[in-house]
Subunit: 526 residues, 2 copies
């Protein structure tokens, strides 16, 4: 049994331990990191009778601490260097630090107090150690309400932190598993789509449209998740259709058309071999029912009305919408949004669920916005926003479609092959970073980057550049899109449309000023 | 604070709670169900001062309790009906049962005592309730060492069980995720292999051979896991090779050969898009290096010797071995094991790692045995063992290759189409069951079943039939193998080779005696 010095009466000890056991149970049940950290921080504050607590986790890849929290319904992340302050000392040495007055300790970093106006007095900071004896972060409890933290508090927080560390480790593993699963299905689907130039990017866009319509229809997060997975996988059966049929550009014979139709059956057959978890149980059925019609004249099941799950009725609409509006090759021109919507309306109540068609149009679910970002250095981030259809139209009205200048990023294409052979695809596994773009070349007139998204030439994207506290938003036009071999991503070239000269100077000068160590990704200057 | 009646002195309470917190941490860290249940059972026994404890989990799909434990290094599972005994009462009502003398309680089921010779006296049995208030099983603690279980014991076990339930739920979810991930990669790989009849089943066999050689080379379980995933995915780049090249049966032009070679680069490019977890980080590199040679003359990297990871050197050997020995079509005859091994030996030290070739041969890693099973009813199980090469040779010596009688299972093929359209593929998601065969037809002379394995005609399989306590082992010969559309599995027909007449009678009579309710899978009689 553990002995406590300066311990409170023993009834209080029993009550504290019971409280910790209750929090432990709640921690173990949390699958999302932001919510888990909240449970831990609030628990530590309460049990120790403190004012506030923080958890900082180590990201050894970037040399930073990070923490995630929910602010105004959005999950935010903060980051600071691993060697800073008391937290840095504790993470490095594995020692517990218990200070009565922070301002009398050299290790204390008063910057955060300065920024927030908070006045730190006492600090109890402990390492978060997993069962494998790895330090994954620190728990920091501030300002004991009465007096300062005692040796008893240290022991209590020790027991608490041990359990917290295991829960955090589990949650990180769970998030890793989810990321692995999602990237596996999205990569497989993109690769299959890319076999046929006309369908490149199709499953990805269908997943985005489906999410919009699913949200509009009031699906909960579990149902949305199931719909997303089904959307990504709905055309996986095309892997069973031979190239000569799949890639035929002329009119299909009845026999060939039947072969194409079989892909829905193949989708079902392939997906039924996969051990989907309870929450994804309906994926094979939803995915294979994307060519069903509300009047029962669809395939492969011929189900009528409500017999089709809501998710399948959503998928049927967004699949057709994307097939109509997407384009890739000169011989296949994209249909306008208006025309495509009128075709959906024609199918109201026969091909499609009428209420869902109305929702798709009235809520403008066809407006999808895609964002990707890249951190170039600690202080510089690029964010690309692929504009929605509405915004595209506005940009075209304002800037038109000028003649594309093929020379702008001439060197961009020269080394596509080199890239593939050298295996320099960007690191998609870096923790704490959404998979994003990878900027490869920058010039005074444009940018070249790798991205998982397909976006047609002459469309507009918005580039948000964040340098320290300065935000630039620059409109760009896609002038080059080139598929990487095996269809796993794209090299996209964009030119700046409305960038001011002084902004351009600022950006280029800043990037050039960075040392090789500061640049987290090598960028070439053209 | 919780009040305890009949509570021990308060120092003992503090010590008990500390012990529970330590066990809680250990529980949360366990990813494997069998080990987790061990931690919980031993912990409950110790904390409550009892003689022994059990955990029984509910499988609502089969209406049974199950538990998993390790016995002689093998993970075993026991099952019994959900409505039996004290455990059944607790799972049904959610009540705690605390009995001083089991034999005075009508709900007690003395069968297990009878079988084991154990003498149950006192029982404390509590439901395992998750945070979602779902009862997922029960904890049962037996024979308090001094006296019987008190109200204090109930409260202590309550706190303990709450945490145990959350950990069990997490572990089940983790196992589900792993199963989902593995089935996703195996299904994708099988589907891609099946595009080319010559490579059907290739990735699966390569994974099995690689595991054998990896074990022989002393890889630990993490490295074996990485090798397995890389094996399944090593040919995924073939999805980027066009049918006209991939399926060409004649000699390839240099250009076409180069296209085929590119699949290794495509494999790397596709896999680098996937967010592999820390433990699978090397998968893209290992998988794409399966055509590397130890002398540096391989592709795509041209790496020499130790620069190639051990896993890649293993993959290179087993990939070639399977390509040489596998066959599917009349025009491609399989090479004998001896000839294939001599080709590996020729490549010792130039194409292949010499020590690994020696290990592959001396440890007979080419002998892979595949097992699949199906429960037909509570008391009847079929297990198919696909015999190893060694055993195949012995069987051929003894039984020869008789003329295959095409009529034996004539009806087997007639309804392949019907099966696909009806979507009657077997339920691969049933919890607690390994994905197995699905017996469809049985006759006096043979069996027809669905399976994920490919096995050539005239090979032998061993069928183990377990009816209650009777075990029959019957040798069978593959007489029909038919790929299901989209290549997701096979319909296999086997004939009994050495089944005794009385055994056959027993089996058929037993199956015919089963009522529709008892049959967990419908089987037709020919």
């Amino acid at each position: 049994m553990t002995e406590f010095s300066e311990a409170p009466d023993i009834e209080k000890q029993v009550s504290d331990l019971h409280e910790i056991l209750e929090i432990t149970q709640a921690m173990a049940g949390e699958k999302r990191l932001d919510r888990l950290l909240k449970v831990i921080m609030e628990g530590a504050t309460r049990v120790l009778g403190a004012d506030v607590s923080s958890i900082f986790l180590c990201d050894h890849d970037t040399g930073e601490f990070y923490s995630r929290f929910i602010q105004q319904a959005v999950v935010s992340e903060i980051r600071f260097p691993l060697d800073k302050g008391i937290a840095g000392y504790v993470a490095k040495t594995g020692e517990t630090v218990n200070i009565e007055d922070a301002y009398k300790d050299d290790r204390f970093n008063p910057d955060i107090d300065k920024n927030t106006g908070y006045r730190t007095r006492s600090i109890l900071c402990m390492p978060l150690v997993t069962l494998d004896k790895e330090i994954i972060g620190v728990t920091q409890v501030l300002n004991k309400k009465q007096g300062w933290f005692t040796a008893y508090d240290e022991k209590l927080l020790g027991v608490f932190s041990n359990n917290a560390a295991v829960s955090i480790d589990n949650t990180l593993l769970h998030e890793e598993n989810i990321r692995l699963f999602k990237s596996l299905i999205s990569t497989s689907s993109k690769t299959i789509d890319a076999r046929d130039p006309v369908t490149a990017g199709h499953s990805q866009r269908v997943a985005l449209y489906a999410e919009q319509l699913g949200r509009a229809a009031g699906l909960d997060s579990l149902a949305l998740n199931e719909l997303e997975v089904a959307s990504w996988l709905h055309d996986i059966g095309k892997i069973g259709v031979r190239d000569d049929v799949l890639l035929k550009t002329g009119r299909l014979t009845d026999q060939e058309y039947k072969k194409i139709q079989e892909h829905a059956t193949y989708t079902s057959e392939i997906l039924e071999q996969i051990h989907f978890s309870r929450e994804l149980k309906a994926v094979p059925f939803i995915a294979s029912a994307h060519h069903e019609r509300i009047d029962g004249k669809g395939y492969p099941y011929g189900l009528v009305g409500e017999k089709l799950p809501l998710a399948a009725r959503i998928l049927a609409i967004v699949d057709v919408y994307d097939a109509l509006t997407a384009y890739d090759r000169p011989y296949k021109k994209a249909m306008s949004v208006e025309k495509a919507l009128s075709i959906l309306e024609e199918g109201r109540g026969t091909q499609f669920d009428a209420a869902l068609v109305d929702l798709f149009i009235s809520r403008r679910c066809f407006n999808i916005e895609r964002r990707q970002y890249q951190r170039i250095s600690v202080d510089l981030t690029f964010e690309i926003v692929f504009l929605s259809n509405d915004d595209q139209i506005k940009c075209v009205e304002k800037y038109g479609f000028p003649k594309v200048d093929d020379d702008v990023l001439e060197s961009a294409d020269a080394n596509v092959e080199e890239d593939v052979d050298g295996g320099t695809a960007w690191d998609v596994n870096a923790p704490g970073k959404a998979k994003g773009i990878r900027v490869r070349d920058i010039s005074a007139s444009g940018l070249k980057f790798e991205t998982g998204y397909y976006f047609p030439i002459n469309n507009f994207v918005s580039l948000k550049v964040v340098i320290k506290s300065i935000d630039l938003t620059v409109l760009c036009r896609v002038i080059r899109i080139r598929r990487r071999p095996a269809g796993t991503g794209y090299i996209m070239g964009v030119e700046f449309v409305n960038m001011k000269i002084d902004e351009r100077e600022k950006l280029l000068n800043y990037i050039k000023s960075l040392s090789a160590e500061e640049l987290q990704t090598p960028i070439r200057f053209l």
